[in-house]
């Protein structure tokens, strides 16, 4: 039977109780860092709170699947719900069109179904509430949807237009630019608003760069140019209260360039397609019917500390619950012969790392 929730280790730090009072979109993290939500509560849990402000998140795309768009949509939408300014760049002619596909918070009645169903005999325990005398705070209330750190975003419900018609969304199309200077200038301009020197993390911003080295862009064969762009972006991000998410297809780059880009990331994720109606995979995994892809977490950002994050599991299945809500679950696998075959280059096993182990902590 597939579990409906992610496994939380008993040793994981309980950060959910530490909330930042100044802004609902920010949460205090360890070592003086601040988190913002990725828009997907499972991903926030996996990463230990969310995306760290000042970090560069890179998502490796799969040439055969559009899952990176799901991650981007949730990220952008969550930022708009928290009134965090957004800069979005894509290789299409009209990036603003993409904003129409951003998800909106789901209605509260859908949310209740995510809780495990309570059996009848637990009802007795609930009545103890009246003896405690304190009002029980309902942590999962969706009354003020914008006031949650991370909303359950319904991918089928488009975001209300008033969230992105205001001035806090800037779109850049990189399709026709001969090089990345235009994008670099726009990013620098955007990042200047969130400089950390001015003290107080009162506002945060988000930058989403989609399909960064898409082959139709004119600079797509200028690898060193792209690498220096990312490096300068990372440097600028470190001194601002911004999270930058960049997606790129590693199969379209030379291996050395792809490796360099992966090393530059603070948080590195990759999404992969799975074959459809595959009997082998259906035998190996429970819940295969609902899966649409796989997510691998290669690196988790840790700023201001030398202690790395070691995850329990690094491969998760991407599912669309009720075809609306994006969830990541740990894989429930049948035991297989651990000695045979070799793992995929990018995947990391639960307990053993493969040749991509240089990125594993």
């Amino acid at each position: 039977m597939a579990t409906t929730g992610t496994r939380v280790s008993s040793f994981s730090p309980n950060l959910s109780s530490v909330k930042s009072s100044q802004h609902p979109g920010l949460k205090n993290g360890p070592n003086g860092t601040t988190f913002i939500s990725s828009g997907i509560s499972d991903l926030d849990k996996i990463l230990g709170g969310g995306f760290t402000l000042g970090s560069l998140v890179m998502i490796m795309e799969d040439a055969e699947a559009p899952h990176h768009m799901l991650l981007l949509r949730n990220f952008m939408s969550q930022g708009l719900l928290h009134r965090q300014p957004l800069l979005y760049s894509s290789p299409s002619k009209d990036p603003r069109g993409f904003l129409g596909t951003l998800p909106s918070p789901g209605s509260s009645k859908d949310d209740i179904a995510r809780e495990p169903s309570h059996e009848k005999d637990l009802r007795i325990a609930w009545q103890y509430k009246k003896y405690f005398g304190e009002p029980q705070l309902n942590i999962n209330s969706n009354n003020g949807g914008q006031h949650d750190y991370c909303n359950d975003l319904d991918l089928r419900k488009p975001l209300e237009r008033h969230f992105f018609t205001s001035n806090n969304v800037n779109c850049v199309s990189i399709q026709n630019s001969p090089n990345l200077d235009v994008l670099k200038d726009r990013c620098a301009e955007f990042l200047a608003q969130f400089s950390r020197n001015e003290g107080g993390s009162s506002s945060a911003g988000r930058i989403a760069i989609q399909s960064f080295c898409s082959p139709q862009c004119k600079y797509s064969d200028m690898e060193w140019h792209m690498l220096s762009f990312i490096r300068s972006l990372k440097g600028m991000a470190r001194s601002s209260n911004v999270v930058i998410v960049v997606t790129f297809p590693p199969s379209l780059l030379s291996p050395s360039c792809s490796k360099r880009l992966q090393h530059m990331a603070d948080t590195l994720l990759s999404v992969r397609a799975i074959p459809d109606e595959d009997k082998e995979l259906a035998k190996l995994l429970t819940g295969y019917q609902d899966m649409v892809g796989l997510l691998n977490v290669h690196k988790v950002a840790r700023l201001n500390t030398q202690v790395p994050v070691i995850l329990e599991a690094t491969t998760f299945s991407i599912k669309l619950q009720k075809r609306r809500y994006l969830v990541f679950e740990c894989l429930n696998q049948a035991p297989v012969d651990g000695s045979g075959g070799s793992s995929y280059g990018n995947s990391d096993g639960c307990s053993r790392s493969t040749k991509a182990g240089s990125l594993d902590f």
Binding site: A65, Q216, L284, Q333, D337, G349
Partner: protein, 370 residues
């Protein structure tokens, strides 16, 4: 499946989505890509003429074969080319792709008004112009309204020869996002290009059909020359990878056979090693409930410590006291701590308090009856 590929091309693009794009990939080991291309062309054309497809016209960008060969192909397959309602247009990039003939005669590259179906195009290197010409001619074919047309590119390899990977990629993506284009399909010879070029074309297409020989040999040339059986030269595998909207990839495999009349597809006959490397996608789980043969044999050989060993000798439970016989035979000195006897697979434990005189009453093991 060839059927499902033709069906997706026939159904075309949904409103607001990119047009389905098929890349037919072949190589020297199995050079039947053009047979597949013409099969799909004929199927789609007959459906257009019958009005069963989303597109109402087809534009063939002929780069590696002459336009007249296409007209002959369609005629012999029974498709009505000369019908009153114009549904086909061929862009001739074959006779003079770089405009060399014109350099002497100084004529432009406008459409030839006398020939309804054909237009010549002489600047293949200018991909942007190619895009606008395709759009204009296509619009002329089906009209300004919501009707769509499809585009068949004879050889993406030829295009890649003339212009850069980036411009071909931008051409394909512009075509895909054009609101009047229903579907696109093109042929690519994968061994003529760098891996990156092939990867880029696969990235921009929604379906990749590769024409492969039955058995992949290490040296591509070896399978071509050293192939004794003539049958294998006309048969092969047709592997299709379709990107579905939900993000999964449908992988199908069929056998094809090339006949004088065309190409036919059949489901895979032999239960070959069709196992995709699926197990590589998910991490290896490190526990194994099965025992291999060697492990079973080894398990039966393990000597358990507190058991009748049945070899006649009195059972001795080693408790740290070394008996006199053993100390004579022992060559190496005693060391504190555990030591593994490599010969018999036992673990011999030397107690730290070895030199103490043990009180027999206090030894709990003495009253064990084995």
């Amino acid at each position: 499946m060839a059927e499902s590929v033709c069906r997706s091309l026939r159904d075309g693009a949904l409103e607001g989505e990119l047009a389905p794009t098929l890349t037919i990939k072949d190589s020297l080991a199995s050079p039947f890509g053009f047979n597949v291309f013409s099969h799909i062309l004929v199927q789609l054309s007959s459906q257009i003429v019958a009005g069963k497809s989303q597109s109402q016209g087809i534009m063939i960008v002929a780069l590696s074969r002459s336009p007249s060969s296409y007209i002959d192909l369609l005629k012999t397959s029974g498709v009505d080319v000369e019908s009153s309602k114009k549904w086909i247009h061929i862009l001739d990039c074959y006779t003079d792709p770089l405009g060399w003939k014109d350099k002497r005669r100084k004529s432009g590259d406008i459409t030839d008004p006398s020939n309804q179906i054909l237009s010549s195009y002489k600047t293949v290197k200018d991909v942007n112009k190619l895009f606008s010409v395709i759009c204009d001619l296509g619009r002329g074919l089906v009209g300004e309204s919501k009707s769509r047309f499809c585009v068949a590119i004879d050889s993406l390899s030829e295009l890649l020869r003339h212009s850069s990977v980036q411009s071909v990629a931008s051409l394909l993506s512009n075509l895909r996002s054009h609101e009047q284009i229903s579907c696109i399909f093109g042929l690519l010879h994968s061994d003529l290009h760098e891996e990156r070029a092939v990867a880029v074309v696969e990235y921009t297409s929604s379906m990749v059909a590769s024409v492969d020989p039955f058995h992949h040999s290490v040296d591509g040339q070896g399978s071509y020359l050293g192939n004794s059986s003539r049958q294998n030269l006309t048969k092969g595998k047709f592997n299709v990878r379709c990107k579905r909207r939900n993000g999964r990839v449908r992988v199908t495999c069929e056998e094809f056979r090339v006949e004088p009349s065309g190409i036919s597809f059949a489901p895979v006959s032999s239960v070959d090693g069709a196992a995709v490397a699926v197990a590589g996608l998910i991490p290896k789980v490190q526990f194994n409930l099965q025992l291999s043969e060697k492990e079973r044999v080894d398990r039966s050989r393990v000597v358990l410590p507190f058991e009748h060993q049945g070899n006649g000798k009195p059972i001795q439970i080693y408790d740290g006291r070394r008996s006199l016989e053993d100390s004579k035979n022992e060559a190496t000195p005693i060391s504190g701590g555990k030591k593994e006897d490599s010969g018999r697979g036992e673990i011999i434990y030397y107690r730290d308090s070895d030199d103490e005189m043990l009180d027999s009453d206090e030894d709990p093991d003495d009253d064990l009856d084995i």
